[in-house]
Each structure stands twice: as structure tokens, then as C-alpha cells.
Symmetry: C2
Subunit: 391 residues, 2 copies
Amino acid sequence: MKTAITVANRMSSIQPSYIREILSAATAPGIISLAGGLPASELFPISLFDQALASLSLVPEVYQYGETQGYPPLLDYLNDRYEVANGLETMVCNGSQQAIDLIARAFLNPNDSVVMEAPSYLGAIQVFGLAQAKIKTIPQLADGPDLIALETLFGTGRIKLFYAVPDFHNPTGISWSLQHRRRVAALCCRYDVLLIEDAPYRSLRFKGTDLPLVSSFCPERAFLLRSYSKISAPGMRIGTVTAPTVWLNPMITIKQCSDLHTNLPMQAALLFVLKHADFPKHKENIRKQYAARHQKLSAALSDKLTPDCSYNTVNGGMFIWLELPPCDAHEVAMQALREGVAVVPGDVFFLKDHSVAPALRLNFSHTPEDQFIDAIGRLKIALEKVSERAC
Amino acid sequence: MKTAITVANRMSSIQPSYIREILSAATAPGIISLAGGLPASELFPISLFDQALASLSLVPEVYQYGETQGYPPLLDYLNDRYEVANGLETMVCNGSQQAIDLIARAFLNPNDSVVMEAPSYLGAIQVFGLAQAKIKTIPQLADGPDLIALETLFGTGRIKLFYAVPDFHNPTGISWSLQHRRRVAALCCRYDVLLIEDAPYRSLRFKGTDLPLVSSFCPERAFLLRSYSKISAPGMRIGTVTAPTVWLNPMITIKQCSDLHTNLPMQAALLFVLKHADFPKHKENIRKQYAARHQKLSAALSDKLTPDCSYNTVNGGMFIWLELPPCDAHEVAMQALREGVAVVPGDVFFLKDHSVAPALRLNFSHTPEDQFIDAIGRLKIALEKVSERAC
């Protein structure tokens, strides 16, 4: 086979996904996985889905081509439900992942600069890599991004976008304080930077009270990305982006070229589920179960791994960030896999060549809570073996 | 609102879609539309869809995140059904539209050259525009592309991709002869050009016998795009691309960045429908109905518009290409709308500034056949009025 034809240059700027490799190993028999970022399969509202799908015969128009921006009854419902302000509009995407990609394609030329927190969501790092953007990172502190570093970067006048996950961050679980939310919004306005507020975990709060969206303080400069993967189901691939019409329109143009529109039967099914009287109870149950899983995992960590390791307390989401004593976190993850537990080494959430304190991302949403004690026991053995080898 | 931030350069290279404008006018009350490219809504296999959706409770794994390449049982079925050769693989996309976009993103740098027939599918013109490719066109003859023009372009050594719709072309309805199929494949091999064979209408043959796929003569240099929008339903947004593993892999990487994977419940539902004992009968019925519609529209054209206008006979698909006497086809389309019939002027399927003989694309799949006589009567009046004004 001739292979003189080469792929596009952008292919070489995508950060490879180590997670994909570890995830495939994580499904081997006997492995307890804390590695993925999956919601709990057994909590999906299957009976609501069954009713939703049965209702589709009443709206046969969902089988025909539809509008690029989304299924109008779903858009109407969401705009009403979230009290979307005048001048802002919502668009349905194939998960909020597609919204990140559409923003990058609509606004970024190669070498344009984007700011992210470090660590950051790998899927966003990959999108901005694919867009051949220059990714600049700022440290993440306990209550939000390092504002001095952020203002220094914004002050260069070269930043187009700031991508952030202010609620229950992936991978660290950190949530921004109210003060950080206000100040980041003010900086975006002052320095003319567009904010991407990615909020996939926002509905997964199991402790404390919701803080305002960062975008609520700078709606005219923000893309707000919502996911229905965590409270409904990720297989449906439905997320939304809300933004000023002027920013949304180029994204609609690109989505039309890209795939015409998001599948309509799932949009109609999601609308049915969101409107169902039992949906609030379903969300409440997810939160309760995740709270219990978080509590069990924390307890196992306290019991077996402190004080050598330390971890943050989170109030929602799906992840705990475990800081390790000096070691090679990759080696720990590999040894952990041999001991029967899959975890993700923290450095995969940083840009290549970024110097990183050793850490692991632990997921608590997908694994039944009775497995956490075993899982952390295995991790402890892996840590000990790696530490002995290092001596 | 500040708007100092500008969109990406690629936004200015997308050919605008005149069709979108005309389509929104075409839905006004009293208008008969021959303008869209929609399959017949009343022929969707709704009862099969109902059964398919009811069956999803047996496969709850479709609600979880899945594999980027596609739902494995669907991929297995399709590879088996189409006897996909060793070394080739299939991937599921959000309609075959997304496959075109993924190919462009995986293989095209700005200013890379792509060849298309003129006229060509507008959605592909838009994708290659978005990719900032140089689009070169070759004339379309009655039985396929102008091979001399094609070899001349290929001979420059600068062509990376050739995009073609060899079966029941959109907009002209033309199908390539066997000789054209063999020769185009041979040229792609000789000049090291990748062929995109877009085959959305191939299953809509209502007369004659299927000819081999062009890609069957050069499988190692081809992307074969299949659509399920015409024989199942477009709202589901499912298409596939089959290609050598080496060409498919970069597309999978981009799809992972872009939207992780195509929605799984619809993939499972499509699999159910394709395997259902009644599906062959359903396809046969679509063909029979489209044959009848085509016959009625042809009869109305013969009766009312020849010999001033001429049209080609098609053996399948959804479109007739009507050549007009010297006039401004845009003006005819505008006047036709005022008379109550929507049609698409031919020049929207050419690159901007391409000199074009006046023509209209007429769709026969979406409109009940009892409206064709009225529709063509109105078109005749529009033609007469425009011709009078020109005198």
C-alpha cells in the first residue's frame, strides 16, 4: 500500500491520551477501576428512558432532518428553565465536548493563545492541541485559579480564550470560591478574553450550596457548557452551549458543515426526561449515592494512606486528587494495575514536559462503594513496592 | 458589547448556503417545495423504530460512554453484511456529513488541493471551504466525470483528495458508467490520490442494476461513505465510513476530540432496524414510491416544459436536473417562490464565480406525487414571466 499521502499537520499537535490505554487495561477481569471518568451505570434512569422512547411515536418529526441549533422544544424548555437572558442563545451539541471543539474551530487560528488551569481536562487540552493553539497554563490553588498569574497572561493582550471548570474540577475536584468567580469574570471583561465555563459536574453537588456561575458575572463574554451525561446518560451524547448570539452564530455555521445537527430522537427523549416529575428525585438519588461513595473512598484513604499521602475534600463531582510522597506516579499507576487497581497518574492532565508533583486521580462515581477498601489496599501495596524499589 | 475578538480565518472560506434561505421560505403555507433534499417523511419505518426503541432496555450499556469507532455489534454487523475486506475498517459518524468533515480535518492543511465534480454537493463544498482547501472542479458528463480534465489535474501532482458521488448525484441525478468507475479508480491509484466515494443515494435505485462501487476497484485508496438517512431516517444522524485502517485511524483520533463517539442508543436502534425481517420490504417500498414520484414529475415536465427546457432521466436517487433556456436561474427561482413553488437554482452547487448554464434542481422524494402537476404549472408561469421581463 502506498502511503505517500500524509496526515494534516494538526494531527501532530494532539496530546496523546494515556487514559485510553489505561482504560482498556482497566476493564480486565479482577481489576477494580478508579481510573475512568464514568458516571454510575446502575443509576441511569432506565425506566424514564423507556417511557421517553415510547413517547417518540408522538413526535415522528424527530426522524426527519432538523435545525442545526437544536430541537426547538428542547431549546425552549432549556432557555425557560435556566432563565437565559435576552441576547444569549442556546445550541445543542453532541455532548459538551463538541461545544469545546466548535468554539476552537470558530475562534482559533493556529498559534492563537488559550489559557487553561494546570492540571486541566484532557479532552479540552486535546481540542486546543488539534486547533494548533498555544496553550498557556496557570496554577490551580485550593479555591480557584492563581489570579496573579491569570492577570499577567491576560495582560499580554494575546489571550483569546480562557477554558475553566469552576465546579468540581476534573481532575482535582476543586471548586472556585465566590470571590474567584467574580474576579475571573472581571478579568475576562477587562482584558477582552472569552471565557469557556465548562460545567459538566455542577449538578453533582452533594454538600454545601451552589455558587453562582462564573458566566453569570460576564454573560456577554462567556460560553456556558452544560452536560447531560452526568445527570441523564453519556451514551445519548447531548450537551449544550449558551452564549451571546454573536458568538454562537459562527459555531452554528461550523456545526452545520460538521454534522448538520445533533440526533433528534435523543433530544426529544432528553426533553421528556428533564420534564418528568420523577427527574428531581433521580438527581437527588445520584447525589446521595455519590456522597456515600465519596465518603467511603475518603475513609479508605484516611485509614490506609495518610499521612504519607494527602487528598483534598470535595463537595461534589466524581474525583479525588491524591498527592503522593516523592515518587514516579506513572510507575505507581503501573504497579497498581499489577496489584489489581487502575488509577490515572496526575501528569497526564498537564501539558507535556510540565514539571508535576506526583499525584493520582481517583474516580469514585463508577465503582460500587464496597470495593473501595480493597482498591485502596491494593494501591497501598503498589506504593510500598515502588518506594522499596526506589531505596 | 465589545466585539474586538474576531472569528477564525476559516470562517470566511465557507461558501454560504443559499439553500438554507430558500428552504425556510419553502415551508410557508401554500408553497409546494421541490427545493429540499429530504426523504419522504411518511415513508419512515416508524413501526420498526418503535420496536427498536422498545428493545433498548435489553442493552442498557448503550447509555454509558462507548467506543469512538462505533457500537461494536453494529460495526460487526456492517462489516459482515458488506463483506468488508481485511485491512479495511468501518467507523460510525454523525451522518456521512461528519465523515467528510473528519477526512478534511485529518488530511488537509490550508491550501491543499481537492478535486470535485461541478456541480457538486453543497455540504462537501462547505466542508472543504472550512478546511481552507483549494477546490478544483472538473465538468460532469452524462456518464461520469470528464476523465481528461481529471487526469490533467491529477497530473499536477498536487491533488490529495477527489470527492465524488457516483450514484444518483446530488444535484444532477447522474450515475457513472462502469467504464468511468474503473478509470477513475485507476487514476486515483496511478496518481496517489485518495478517493472519497460518497454513496448516500446508492440504495435508492428504482431502475436498472447496481454497478460496482468505485472504491471496490481501489479499496486501498478510498473512503467509502454510507448514509442511513435515506433508507432509515436522517434525524438519527448515522452514517459510516469504510477505509484502510491507516487512513481511518487519524479520523478516529479527531472524532474522539470532537465528540467522543456517536450516540449509542440510535446506533443500537439502527442495528435492530437493519436486521429486522421487514426491512428489505421497507426499502423496496421506498424505491417503488420514489419511482412513482419520479415518473409523475418527469411526466409533468414533459407535458408542460419541453422542449424549452430539458432534463435528464435518472434511475434512482431524489433529484432531477432541469436545464433552462437562457435566463437568470436565480430570478426564476425567486419568481417561482412568488408563484407558490420552491426550487433551487443550479449555480448554488458550483463554486462562486463559476460560469453556469441556467438550471434548477428539482427534488421528487419529499413531495406527494399528486402535487407535481400543480408545481410544474406554477414553475411554467414563473419561467414565462421572467422570460417576458427579459424581452
